[in-house]
Amino acid sequence: MDISSLIESLHPLEIKVLSTFGVNHSAILTTEQLAQSTGLEPSQLSMAIEWLLAKSLLVVDTETSTPIVSLTKTGELYFEKYSPIERVLSVARDAAKTGKRLTIQDIQSREGLEPTETSGAIGRLKKEGVLLIIQGGCIESTGRASQTAEAMRGLLQQLHGAPRELRAFPEAQRQVIQDHAVKRGNAREPFRIDDRVTRALTLSATGIEAAQQLSRQETAEEVSQLTPELLKDGSWRAKRFRKYTISLRAPRIAPGKRHPYREFLDAVKTQLVSMGFQEMRGSLVETEFWNMDALFMPQFHPARDIHDVYFVKEPTHASSIAEPFLSQVAQAHQHGGETGSTGWNYPFDVERARRLVLRSQGTAVSAHTLAAQPAVPGKYFSIARCFRYDQVDATHATDFFQVEGIVLGEDINFRTLLGLLNLFAREVAHAKEVKFLPAYFPFTEPSVELHVRHPKLGWMELGGAGLFRSEVTLPLGVTVPVIAWGLGLDRMAMVALGIHDIRELFTDNLDLIRATRGAF
């Protein structure tokens, strides 16, 4: 890494420490001196020093360790309540005055001392000739003074709240400290000796170079923002711009965007228009006539009952149905009319035809187009919202889009129907493999189911189609053959959107809508 990128990578704490050496490049500074001149917290300082050492900008000149004495918790306790040795001694002296005889146990229980503390103190006093142990385990004061007890008292006072270097004490006191310092296995002692490591640090050759460069940089004033004023008078040239940590996460924004499902449907719409299809629109509320009768679904057809279609509450019936379509469709149902069909042979109920329903199939929109003198040749499509009386679950929605349409033309036949489906398979599903299966729809004959091998989903049903029956086209005034087609795109949409539940297409979860990338 070259020196300038090394400098750019430096943390402000590191810069602060490096600059401290800057005045005199050969300086050797101890950690204490550094703490003083940088004013950094000990933890921050040691962090910065470790980083700089790791980057070889600093090197350790010397390392010294100094023994420091401080009071332990026990020591602080002794400072407040006197040490066991003093307490034993004072009890023994009081007893001597009154002529009372005391056993070790008596002293221990009277003073509330630990057995180890008591025996330690008595052992030391006996060694100094201050106490005697006489017959019966009793203690007797000799009246001599205890050097240890006095040294202890002085040390406790000096060290209370103020650790000091061990070497600051005279030899005799040092001995007492060492005798009563915490060692492994004996925690109840008043003193602790810790080694304090002091490092003297100095700059490495690279460190000197970096410090020099830093000091040069610091002559230009740092600004955080380029302002119109700086641009206007050109003063930006004398400024240094604070560097950002650009690797941080960017703050989130919520863009305006299309709904991913709508985006998918927009793409389908554009494709159909590009293939020469004209869009049709229809009404959400339909008569049974346009929704079903015109499509040659007999009025007794099971898909027409109360468990499949939503009926409108008010008004229940349309005021009228356009003629001549009503009569011609009725005749087609009853006996075929002029269509060359036998018809369904049942009495057609005009009242039933006027019953209002929520549109249950997009083909209703096509039926209206057939009756409105469509262009021949002509291609039409609609993306129509439809409603089914279905229990809502992961695969059934109560209202949903149907993509469907018609193709009219003199050249329309079974083979051009297959050709059109091939086109859909290629353009809409990007499928190279196609299967055509016989199918049944009440309004087409022949009928085909289009299966494609989707690049992600494998074999799937993409749609259904067929040639409209003459019983559909002729009563609506169309004499050329007509293809009726419908595409089932919800599964493809769900894959494109990465969802598994059809209800999520219409989700109310804004986070989810914002997070979905959609088809791309």
Binding site: G276, L284, I306, V312, L356, D411, P438, I513
Partner: protein
């Protein structure tokens, strides 16, 4: 679309024909062949040989059974349908079934036959019962137009009587019970009586089928007698009877049963039905009976529809292999459906059968060649334009169900009893949540806002889509209108934030507008306006009323507007 269960071994036996060694069929061959019957293999159990097959064609009840599927496959393999002798043999003194007067007003028609020499197997019985159920349920419209009874022939003495009796005049032990009860009691107590009794509602006399010894066979269309009407494995002589309200459907159903039993090796003995009233087939009707009339059509009709010049021979072969009777003469072909079908309504039905028989793969796809110009409707163009503008102004598009609840669409918006609260409602409500069409867009936007208080703010939402508004001047009583709804929600939002967006939209769709203060319960008084353009109300804008926000449990202020795009598109 019925789904049936069949067994692979049974299918293989039927494919070979009675007395022959079963003809094995692989699952791949089966799936391929199912195209002939518009069937789809939905599931299989390789251990038991059980196959679940969905049949699509609701006009081909003959295919809703193993026998029918096998028959269609067999015709294709053999190139033609096998002969069914019972249709042509004349009996000197056929078994007879007499119909009582008065039934023409209750359940007029009956058809029947006997079948002997077929030893009923477990699989065969399961198929008979399944066919009986599917045909009476789906083809017979839940037994209303057609119902079927199966009996042990040995327990019956001819001639039979299809009688009409008072509810307490006849009694027998019905299937599923062990006590004798009257017909009236069966309607009140027996599960089938409760389920299907409605078919006979309002009748003071009921249909009753009995034999020469006045022994009960059944109470059509409710339940059979336990004595004669419980076919068991091992029986080798059966009697089948169909009653109903449509003579051709009744005869067709019996024809299907006769064909099925014959395919299993039974000898079918027709029965003569004697009516005391006129029927389209006369007063003496032999059943089963081939009712199919032949139809003559030009070969060119078929060729044009298929887009392929096949020639008379190929067309004839295809139809024969699909079970048709065929005769060709010059440029015409005369076709007759097999006796178990009645679904030929139009020449195009024959065209499809030619295509299916030859296989759809036999037809090379051709692109329609004529040129057409594609395009969007005017309303879609306008809608796309305002959607793009809304996205540019930082709005997230949403998309919602059009069906909602009156609570959300009207009550939560404080619109009870107002003109804005009028809805197109559903009559047959399944769930209150989906019982009315939205009359405006704001509830759709509030639906998302209410669910998204954890999504970071600001929220700018819009939806362009259809709503339905009651309108007595329309034939269907309502108008479908495309509207745009926009809403902004965050702690500091206010009227002018929405107003700026509205202003921008109108500028770019090149329309002028003005705001007129109005009273609207969904918005704060004094902070709501009607959007007027060219003298017409085309929308509303305002700060949502705190009580509306409370009812939706929304805890930030929200401003919104809605514009009628259908009106703008019409200009």
């Amino acid at each position: 679309m019925p789904t049936i269960t069949i067994f692979k071994q049974d299918l293989e036996t039927l494919l070979a024909g009675p007395g022959e060694a079963p003809q094995p069929i692989t699952i791949e061959q089966l799936e391929e062949s199912l195209m002939l019957v518009k069937g789809e293999l939905k599931g299989q159990n390789p251990d038991t040989g059980e196959l679940r097959i969905e049949l699509q064609d609701s006009n081909r009840p003959d295919l809703w059974c193993c026998e029918g599927i096998a028959r269609q496959f067999r015709a294709k393999r053999q190139g033609a349908l096998s002969k069914y002798d019972f249709l042509t043999t004349k009996l000197k003194s056929p078994k007879r079934l007499n119909v009582a007067p008065g039934l023409e007003k209750v359940r007029p028609y009956v058809a029947a036959c006997a079948a002997t020499g077929y030893l009923v197997t477990q699989e065969g019985l399961a198929q008979l019962v399944q066919t009986q159920e599917k045909l009476s349920e789906m083809f017979g419209r839940k037994r209303r137009t057609v119902s079927i009874g199966l009996y042990r022939l040995a327990a019956i003495e001819f001639p039979l009587t299809y009688d009409l009796v008072k509810p307490d005049e006849a009694s027998f032990t019905p299937l599923g019970m062990n006590t004798v009860m009257t017909l009236g009691e069966m309607l009140l107590v027996h599960p089938k009586g409760l389920e299907f009794g409605g078919i006979l509602a309002g009748q003071d006399r009921l249909p009753f089928l009995r034999d020469a010894k006045r022994q009960a066979l059944s109470f059509p269309p409710i339940i059979n007698s336990r004595e004669s009407g419980e076919v068991r494995v091992g029986d080798d002589a059966l009697f089948v009877e169909v009653t109903g309200t449509d003579l051709s459907m009744v005869v067709l159903t019996l024809n299907i049963f006769a064909a099925n039993l014959a395919d299993r090796g039974a000898v079918i003995e027709p029965v003569e039905i004697r009516y005391p009233y006129k029927t389209v087939l006369g007063t003496g009707v032999i059943t089963p009976q081939d009712l199919e009339k032949s139809q003559k059509l030009p070969i060119s009709t078929i060729e044009q529809a298929l887009g392929q010049a096949l020639g008379a021979q190929k067309v004839a072969n295809a139809l024969r292999a699909y079970g048709y009777g065929v005769a060709t003469k010059g440029k015409h072909i005369t076709v007759t459906l097999p006796f178990y079908r009645q679904d030929l309504m139009h020449a195009m039905d024959v065209v499809e059968d030619v295509a299916i028989s030859r296989g759809y793969g036999d037809f090379l796809p051709v692109m329609p060649s004529q040129f057409t110009v594609g395009g969007l409707s005017r309303i879609e163009e306008v809608s796309d334009r305002v959607r793009t503008l809304m996205v540019g102004m930082g709005f997230q598009e949403i998309i919602s169900n059009i069906l909602g609840s009156p609570q959300d669409l009207r009550d939560a918006m404080r619109l009870e009893g107002t003109e804005w609260g009028q809805l197109v409602e559903v009559d047959n409500v399944m769930s209150q949540n989906f019982s009315a069409l939205r009359q405006w867009m704001l509830p759709s936007l509030l639906r998302v806002e209410a669910a998204s208080n954890r999504a970071f703010y600001p929220h700018r939402l819009f939806e362009a889509g259809e709503v339905a508004r009651p309108d007595p001047t329309q034939s269907v009583g309502s108008r479908t209108v495309t509207v745009l709804g926009g809403m902004i929600a965050h702690a500091d939002t206010h009227f002018s934030e929405a107003h700026s967006c509205l202003d921008t939209l109108f500028y770019y769709v090149n329309q002028t507008y003005s705001l007129e203060p109005i009273q609207h319960p969904s918005f704060l008084a004094g902070r709501v306006g009607s959007i007027i353009s060219e003298g017409k109300q085309v929308g509303v804008i305002g700060e949502l009323h705190p009580e509306v926000l409370e009812r939706w449990q929304i805890s930030v202020p929200a401003v919104a507007f809605e514009i009628d795009l259908t009106e703008l598109a019409g200009r």
